[in-house]
Amino acid sequence: MWSGHAAAFVTAFLASLVEAVEAFTIMLAAATIRGWRPALLGGVAGLAFLTFLCIALGPMLESVPLHLLQLAIGVLLLLFGLRWLRKAVLRGAGLLPLHDEVRIFASETAALRTLEKHRGGTDWLAGSVAFKAVVLEGLEVVFIVLAVGAGRGLLPPAASGAVAACLAVAAVGFFVHRPLSQVPENAIKFTVGVILSAFGIFWTGEGLGIAWPGSDAAIPVFALVLACAAGALMPALRNRSGRPGG
């Protein structure tokens, strides 16, 4: 039971860390142009919108039959987790550029400056940019929390993990005042992709009526198989393309 709680907390924490860092970079760009007030107002409005979505849609999940919920969440987790894992493998093999917060910060700041020149009304502009960043990255956090926690009574630890990640990023960002480029984004994405895909296989199987040997204990086995396969694909791709990789 406690291992389930810990797994839900850690998975939601790591996944939310990646999303929170991305949202913070864009909020920082908005704050650099117009100060923290409009950026924070936009961010808080985004959080309020996400809270509204959760309150409005959350109770609907309880009315869905358990097997259907497990199957739907399992398939969505598979699509989401394998997508992250694919990206992490391609980045690890050097076929996709690594996510670079400093470069994203520079391009967001430049785009905002261009808009500032052409449109004016920059407080509103900075606020809306921060709002969109929080809503778009936050949607992924909401999905991850629901997918990891719903149907097994693990919503509180999953939500706590997400909140802890957002608070950690906000606290570190408040002190350093620059993009958090030191976060090992690709390693986290690889780990979370493996965990979410393993959960996805488990839930999809449960939803289809497969009785997994050892029940929940099968999840780490799936994670190990996925990690080994994805880890083996990276050097194979690197050898094929002749690139050094990241």
């Binding site: 296989i201 289809l208 497969i210």
Partner: protein
Amino acid sequence: MRLALRLLRELVGLFVDDGGLALIVLGVVALTAVLAHSAPTAGVATGGFLLLGCVAALAESVLRAGRR
């Protein structure tokens, strides 16, 4: 309206990046469902098919991307 459309696009983008990968995964799940209903006692074999099918889908997707 534009924000709603963008939200919808982002929502789909959460799950579908490489359309081929998404299609193969959905195909593996559909085949697993058929196997699970036609041979309900073969739980482990059906589960193994789902696991290996997902690994194969990932491998196909990254190797295809590597060839581009």
